[in-house]
């Protein structure tokens, strides 16, 4: 099966071409074709996953390369596919969610005038996403990266008659371009230094030291910029909530489960090339995003907006998890999040379909009317809140554990902020998600007309919900995931470091700084900034190594010690996250269900803060005021320059041309024509003058004749 993996992306591509061309004339407008191809892709993905799973090898790799562009006998650019455990899991995630969303869309988009085009767009999205997952080089991941950006644009702006939708599409595309530019710069740095683009080749080249130090950090940050854009991380998170203008299945597929996870996948894919600096950078952005967007989600009343901000926040968790060294944790959260967030989004779609409103203040009591939607939504909410037994608990707990471990090992108290921030936000997550559930499904209906109108959605809509809710339990993931998806060895900064120290570094994502003698000593993460600036060999700057790892002799004990720390960290993280999650859920019930605390009074008490959150930290306004108005002012300035200086020059040239032409015209009129006319008038004038001699009188002629003869005679005579 795995030998045919390259076929998978082409299946949706086929249905895209068919549906965009003749979809309107197909029976049922061709939805069966798109659903069928993606279902085949799903079946093949399951087959591949089965093969990979049966091998049960953490180092499983299937890698084929074809030359794509060859110059002479040398392959300049390669294409191919790379399947390891992460790829197999991602393939499964993408195809499962995509298939279910196709199924859901049959009900949700029923009767839309551009029904076939919607399915065509879903297909091209699936094609791009599968291509992105299977890509084996930076070049190809970038190509598919842009393709998913395109399909995201097409789908967000699907109802382009609505100005807000077409604006949101443009915003998503343009904001993503900002991140993609960083990605491109990262790729160019890699290509300029290493001369290759395949992941393996690049890692090999970095291992050989072709790209190292600050430039490697910059390349890593550049590539991460792509993830910032696509995964909606601070400061480019603003597009994702607006993207909710798209149809809800799109939100579930692209803006919850798959495309936004592409950034996380990318970071995981190129994990070995990140330097500790780059990791710190990544973790900081993840932390900022997860807290910032969760706080915004607290004050939103649009069901999809809450979910959108929650998605940003969860993506922040994944990014931070990867940044603090929790490779498995970040990718596990990516996988579990795809299932429960898709379930939440499709559930919200089902609710919106039923009540024709997105405002949770107009809902309430829907659990009786929509029992299936309610139960599945509740399961997914429990999962995202991190309740034990559900998938979110499994993965989020791993991230918290990794963050705490990172904080404890780094020895820098500041680095505990990753754990504390993430833990606090876990409580916020539980609170706002249960606020959403309570306001939507519990209590008394607030709008009776809408309530009476509400009904359970058709089977094509609730079947996907049930499947996704079923995937929100932790037993699907625990065990094998941690075994199969293991942190790859870092290739950065390792030249000239002895083997045991290397292994230790791998394990802790600790920083290596060459000691004066060239002997390797692991240094604390926190001292990174200090040691980075100093050239290798000036060890005084490198600071004393932390927790007993000063000499290779102490290494064995150190590993044991670290394992102990890791164990402690994960235990503490688990207890604290359960406690905080429960507290959040409890608070949500206290405020919104039992009514012990009136939310409006709380909101009034901290009105400025509430306003601040409701207005999304004024990010849009900030960007409007700075970047957008700045660009506009710049454009106006350039337009002025264009109008007055450039046009002025052009007009001046024109004026000069006109003036010269005028002069030439005058010269032509007076000199050239004058010469011609003068010749003519001279001829006529002389003609008429000489004509007078010709009198016709015979005696005149004779007189002249005689006179002439006389003159000749006189001349001869004298």
């Amino acid at each position: 099966m795995i030998r045919y993996a390259y076929i998978i992306p082409f299946l949706p591509l086929l249905s895209f071409f068919v549906n965009i061309a003749v979809g309107k004339r197909l029976p049922r407008k061709g939805d069966w074709l798109c659903l069928g191809t993606i279902a085949v892709a799903l079946a093949m993905s399951i087959g591949i996953f089965y093969e990979v799973f049966r091998a049960y090898d953490p180092n499983f790799r299937y890698h084929i390369v074809f030359p794509w562009i060859t110059v002479g006998s040398r392959a300049l650019l390669n294409t191919g596919i790379l399947i390891d455990n992460v790829t197999a899991v991602m393939l499964l995630v993408v195809t499962i969610v995509s298939t279910l969303v196709h199924l859901f869309s049959i009900g949700y988009m029923h009767g839309d005038p551009r029904y076939n085009r919607f399915f065509a767009y879903l297909s091209i999205f699936s094609f791009s996403m599968l291509g992105l997952v299977l890509a084996e080089s930076f070049l190809f991941i970038y190509i598919f990266w842009e393709l998913v950006g395109l399909s995201s644009y097409l789908l967000i702006g699907f109802w382009f008659e609505k100005k807000s939708a077409s604006d949101a599409g443009k915003k998503a595309f343009i904001v993503n371009r900002v991140g993609d530019f960083g990605f491109l710069i990262g790729i160019l740095i890699i290509y300029a230094t290493c001369g290759v683009l395949g992941y393996d080749q690049v890692f090999l080249a970095i291992g050989e030291g072709k790209l190292s130090g600050t430039l490697l950090t910059l390349a890593g940050i550049g590539v991460f910029c792509g993830a910032i854009g696509k995964s909606a991380q601070f400061p480019l998170h603003v597009w994702l909530p607006d993207a909710m203008e798209g149809p809800t299945p799109v939100s579930a597929l692209i803006h919850a489960a798959t495309m936004v996870a592409a950034g996380v996948y990318l970071v995981g894919r190129v994990y070995p090339m990140f330097t500790p600096d780059a990791f710190l950078f990544i973790a900081c952005f993840g932390l900022i995003t997860l807290f910032l967007t969760a706080s915004i989600a607290l004050a939103q009343n649009d069901i999809k907006k809450v979910l959108a901000y929650s998605t940003c926040s969860q993506l922040g968790y994944m990014i931070m998890g990867l940044g603090v060294g929790g490779y498995t944790a970040g990718l596990a959260h990516l996988t579990t999040h795809a299932a429960f967030k898709a379930c939440l989004f499709l559930g919200s779609g089902s609710v919106i379909h039923a009540v024709h409103s997105q405002d949770i203040q107009e809902m309430g009591g829907l659990r009786k009317k929509m029992p299936i939607t309610f139960v599945t939504f509740l399961i997914a909410t429990l999962a995202i809140s991190g309740v034990p037994g559900f998938s979110g608990f499994y993965s989020k707990d791993m991230i918290l554990g990794a963050a705490l471990e990172f904080g404890m090992k780094s020895g820098n108290p500041l680095h505990m902020v990753f754990f504390i921030g993430a833990l606090f936000t876990a409580g916020l997550t539980a609170f706002y998600m249960f606020r959403l559930v309570i306001l939507t499904f519990f209590g008394a209906p607030k709008d009776h007309h809408k309530y009476d109108h509400a009904h359970e959605s058709p089977a094509s809509m609730w079947v996907p919900l049930v499947v996704l809710a079923g995937l929100s339990f932790s037993f699907w993931y625990s065990g094998w995931f941690g075994t199969l998806v293991q942190k790859p060895k870092s290739v950065a900064n390792l030249a000239g470091i002895s083997a045991p120290a290397k292994a230790a570094t791998m394990e802790h994502a600790a920083v290596m700084a060459p000691a004066p003698q060239g002997e390797a000593v692991p240094v604390k993460e926190g001292e990174l900034d200090a040691s980075r600036g100093s050239a290798p060999g000036t060890g005084e700057h490198g600071q004393a190594p932390s927790h007993g790892t000063s000499a290779p002799a102490g290494h064995g004990a150190d590993a044991e010690h670290d394992a102990h720390i890791a164990h402690t960290a994960h235990t503490y993280a688990m207890y604290s996250s359960v406690a905080v999650g429960t507290l959040g859920i409890f608070l949500a019930f206290v405020v919104y269900s039992f009514g012990w605390i009136n939310p409006d009074r709380v909101a009034n008490a901290v009105k400025p803060l509430y306003k601040f959150l409701q207005n999304k930290w004024y990010f849009d306004e900030l960007y409007e005021a700075t970047i957008i108005n700045g660009s506009k002012a710049l454009s106006r300035g350039l337009a002025w320059f264009d109008m007055h200086v450039v046009d002025g020059l052009v007009n001046l040239t024109a004026q000069i041309g006109v003036f010269v032409s005028f002069l030439v015209g005058k010269f032509d009129d007076y000199v050239v024509d004058g010469a011609v006319n003068g010749l003519a008038s001279a001829t006529t004038g002389s003609g008429s003058l000489l004509g007078r001699l010709q009198t016709g009188k015979l005696y005149h002629y004779v007189f002249v004749l005689a006179g002439g003869a006389l003159i000749i005679f006189l001349i001869k005579a004298f």
Partner: protein, 100 residues
């Protein structure tokens, strides 16, 4: 009788002819003036020949001129007849239709 006297006579005759040609309007009178000029020329031919050479070239040339003059008179008078029949006059001033 000397060459000088003959040349003076010829010149006088030539001047008479020239005067006639310049002053008379009547075509026949003009033709008569032309005859006078021709005859002045004949006198010169014969005089130079008689006084300056031993051959008869001048005299022979004079005979040719007389013949030519007769032919000329015949042609000219024929033209005058045609002119008279078209214009009704033989005034030379009337014959200016070719004037540009």
């Amino acid at each position: 009788m000397t060459l000088d006297k003959l040349l003076i006579i010829a010149a006088a005759l030539f001047c008479c002819g020239l005067y006639t040609v310049m002053t008379r309007r009547n075509a026949v009178a003009v033709l008569m003036g032309v005859e006078l000029i021709l005859n002045a020329t004949n006198i010169n031919f014969v005089a130079f020949s008689f006084f300056l050479t031993r051959v008869m070239g001048g005299q022979i040339f004079a005979v040719f001129v007389i013949v030519l003059a007769a032919a000329e008179a015949a042609v000219a008078l024929a033209i005058f007849l045609r002119m008279f029949s078209t214009t009704g006059t033989v005034e030379v001033d009337a014959a200016d239709q070719l004037k540009g």
